[in-house]
C-alpha cells in the first residue's frame, strides 16, 4: 500500500551545493519521521488489531527491512557516498574480501543526539565516525529497529545492473566485442534463452531483465575463447564462473545452510581470481560498493530469508503504477493533490 508522496524539490534556492545536499537529506528524514512516528510508541507496548479472520491480537509494528538501491540506502543510513551503508569498512578497502563489523546503532544514536547541543561538536563527532551530520534521522525513535541490519541486498541493482554489467564490460575489453558478438550470434536457438541476434555489445540502456538473460549465456560465450595477445584465459573463466554462480545462487527461492556456505565459497573464489582483470588491464582497482555489498548477502539471508522477500523489482513496478501513471492522469498542476485523489478512487473501486 502506498503510504505517501515525499516532495521531490531540488531546493534550487540554496546556492551552496553541499548545503543543498544536506538540506535534501534533512528534508527526507523529516518527512519520513512524520510518516513513521505513530508506530514508535506501539512497537514496545503493542496495539490490539483484528485480522481478516476475526481474531484480535496484540500487534507490535516494527520496522524490519528497508528496500532500496544504493543512493537510497546511503540516504537512510546517513553514510557518505563510496562507503558501505551497513559496516565500518574504510573507503579504500571495498574491493577486499574481509568482514568488517557492522555499525552499532546505539553508538551512532549517541552521536546524533549531540545535534541538540553545540553544532560544532556535533559535526566533529559525525566526522569521527564517518557519518553525515543529519538532524534526527527518522529511525532514532523507532524501537527494536536496527537500521544497519535492516538494509538488505538488492539483486537488481547490485548484481544485475552492477556486477554483471561490470563483468560484461571487462570481458568485452579482454576478448574483443567482435569475438563475443560472433559467438553470441552462433548460439543455437533454445526456448530458455533470449536470442540476442545482433550480439550483446551493441545494446544500450540494458534493463535488469536483459542482464539476467545475458548472464545465462555469458559463460558459454567466453569459455575456450582465445585472448588476443595469447594470455591464458583460465583465470578469467574461473572468476566469471564464480560470479555467475553467485548470481544464480543468490536468486534461489529457498536456501539451506549448505547453499549459503556455497554462496560464500563462490564469492571467495571470485576474490581469489579477480586480479586477472588488473593484470590484463581492463580494471585499475576494485573499490566498488556493489562488490563489497555481496559480502553481506549470507548474513541477510540468514536474518530475513531469501532475497525475493526484499526485491526492488516489485517497488520499481509499483513506482510505475503509483507515481508515473498517477502523474500522467493529472493535468500537471498541483499534481500531488490530483494523484492522491486518483489513487483513492481506484482503491475504492
Amino acid at each position: 500500500m502506498l503510504l505517501g508522496y515525499i516532495p521531490t524539490t531540488k531546493l534550487t534556492s540554496i546556492s551552496n551545493k553541499a548545503a543543498r545536499h544536506r538540506a535534501l537529506a534533512n528534508l527526507f528524514h523529516t518527512c519520513m519521521q512524520t510518516t513513521l512516528a505513530p508506530i514508535g510508541p506501539y512497537g514496545e507496548t503493542g496495539v490490539d488489531m483484528m485480522s481478516g479472520d476475526g481474531v484480535w491480537r496484540r500487534c507490535h509494528p516494527i520496522l524490519a527491512i528497508f528496500v532500496g538501491d544504493y543512493p537510497e540506502q546511503a540516504l537512510v543510513t546517513c553514510t557518505y557516498n563510496g562507503r558501505c551503508p551497513k559496516c565500518t569498512v574504510s573507503p579504500g578497502q571495498l574491493g577486499e574480501y574481509q568482514s568488517f563489523p557492522l555499525r552499532i546503532q546505539s553508538k551512532v544514536l549517541d552521536t546524533y543526539l549531540l545535534s541538540d547541543g553545540d553544532i560544532r561538536a556535533f559535526h566533529l563527532a559525525c566526522r569521527e565516525i564517518g557519518m553525515k551530520p543529519i538532524f534526527h534521522p527518522f529511525w532514532e525513535s523507532l524501537p527494536l529497529t536496527d537500521i544497519f541490519h535492516s538494509i538488505t541486498p538488492d539483486i537488481l541493482h547490485q548484481l544485475l545492473q552492477g556486477m554483471v554489467k561490470h563483468l560484461i564490460a571487462w570481458l568485452v575489453g579482454i576478448f574483443g566485442a567482435a569475438a563475443i558478438d560472433t559467438r553470441c550470434r552462433a548460439l543455437p536457438l533454445n526456448h530458455k534463452i533470449l536470442p540476442f541476434s545482433k550480439g550483446i555489445t551493441t545494446l544500450s540502456r540494458i534493463s535488469g531483465h536483459e542482464h539476467k538473460k545475458m548472464s545465462i549465456i555469458l559463460l558459454s560465450l567466453i569459455v575456450d575463447l582465445p585472448i588476443p595477445g595469447g594470455a591464458d584465459s583460465s583465470r578469467v573463466v574461473r572468476a566469471a564462473r564464480a560470479l555467475i554462480d553467485f548470481l544464480f545462487l543468490a536468486q534461489y527461492k529457498s536456501h539451506t545452510s549448505e547453499t549459503i556456505s556455497l554462496l560464500q565459497d563462490h564469492l571467495i573464489q571470485f576474490h581469489n581470481n579477480k586480479t586477472i582483470f588488473l593484470d590484463l588491464g581492463v580494471r585499475k582497482g576494485f573499490n566498488l560498493p556493489k562488490l563489497h555489498s555481496l559480502s553481506h548477502y549470507p548474513s541477510s539471508i540468514r536474518l530475513f530469508g531469501t532475497a525475493d522477500n526484499y526485491n526492488t523489482e516489485q517497488s520499481e513496478q509499483l513506482h510505475i503504477d503509483l507515481a508515473k501513471d498517477a502523474y500522467h492522469a493529472t493535468n500537471h498542476k498541483e499534481e500531488l493533490r490530483q494523484m492522491t485523489k486518483w489513487l483513492e478512487r481506484r482503491e475504492k473501486v
Binding site: 524539490t9 540554496i14 491480537r57 530475513f304
Partner: protein
C-alpha cells in the same frame, strides 16, 4: 551404476544440493516459537469482516440497481479494469451511433465526472485511509507532502479478509531433518530476525 569415485567433487556437491532441495520439499521439520508471542490472540470478535459481497455491492450501485451475479470477471481484482473497459465502450458508442452497447449495459452515469461523483459520494468508504496533506517549510520554500496514517494502513492490510489465510503470526525454524543439522531459509518468518526480536 556409476560409482561416486567416477564423479568430480563439484558434481557430487550439486547432486547433494538437488537432493537436499527435493528432501526439503517433501520432508520439513518445523520448530515453532515456544515462548509467549508478542503477537498472540487476545480476544475473539463476533463481528464478521467485510467479504467479497461488499465488493459486488459496489458494482451493483454502479449498474443502476441491477445486481450482477457472482461471475468471476466482476470480482474485486477486476474492478479497476472494469473502469477502464467502461471508458472504452463510451468511446466506441460516440463514434458509431449505430452501436447500442452503452444502453445495453444500463449504466447509471453518462460522463466520467458523474462516475467520479458516484465513486466519491455513493460508494462506502474503503478500508484504506485517506491521504492527509502536510506542509514542511525548508530553506524559505513551503513544500507539501501527502501521507496516510500508518497505523490505519497497517490495520487495513492486517484486517483484509483476502490476506487472512496468508498471514503468519509466529516465527518458525525449518530444518531438513529431525537432527536439525541443516536449516532452511525461505520466507521472512523462517529467518532469524523475527525470532531474535521476540526474545528481546
Amino acid at each position: 551404476m556409476i560409482t561416486p569415485t567416477h564423479w568430480s567433487k563439484r558434481r557430487r556437491q550439486i547432486t547433494s544440493l538437488i537432493a537436499f532441495h527435493l528432501i526439503a520439499r517433501v520432508h520439513r521439520y518445523l520448530e515453532r516459537f515456544g515462548a509467549r508471542l508478542r503477537m498472540s490472540p487476545c480476544k475473539r470478535s463476533m463481528r464478521t469482516p467485510l467479504g467479497p459481497r461488499f465488493h459486488l455491492s459496489l458494482i451493483g450501485k454502479l449498474l443502476d440497481g441491477r445486481r450482477c451475479a457472482a461471475e468471476p470477471q466482476w470480482q474485486y481484482r477486476n474492478c479497476w479494469q472494469y473502469q477502464g473497459y467502461v471508458f472504452l465502450i463510451l468511446g466506441i458508442s460516440y463514434s458509431n451511433p449505430g452501436l447500442k452497447v452503452v444502453e445495453a449495459l444500463g449504466l447509471s452515469f453518462h460522463t466520467i465526472k458523474e462516475l467520479n461523483e458516484k465513486i466519491d459520494d455513493e460508494l462506502p468508504a474503503s478500508a484504506h485511509p485517506p491521504f492527509q496533506r502536510k506542509e514542511v517549510s525548508f530553506g524559505g520554500e513551503r513544500l507539501e507532502f501527502y501521507s496516510r496514517d500508518i497505523m490505519k494502513c497497517i490495520g487495513a492490510l492486517y484486517g483484509d479478509p483476502q490476506f487472512a489465510q496468508d498471514l503468519v503470526f509466529a516465527p518458525e525454524q525449518h530444518y531438513t531433518s529431525q537432527e536439525r543439522t541443516c536449516r532452511i531459509y525461505n520466507e521472512i518468518h523462517t529467518g532469524d530476525w523475527w525470532w531474535k526480536v521476540q526474545v528481546k
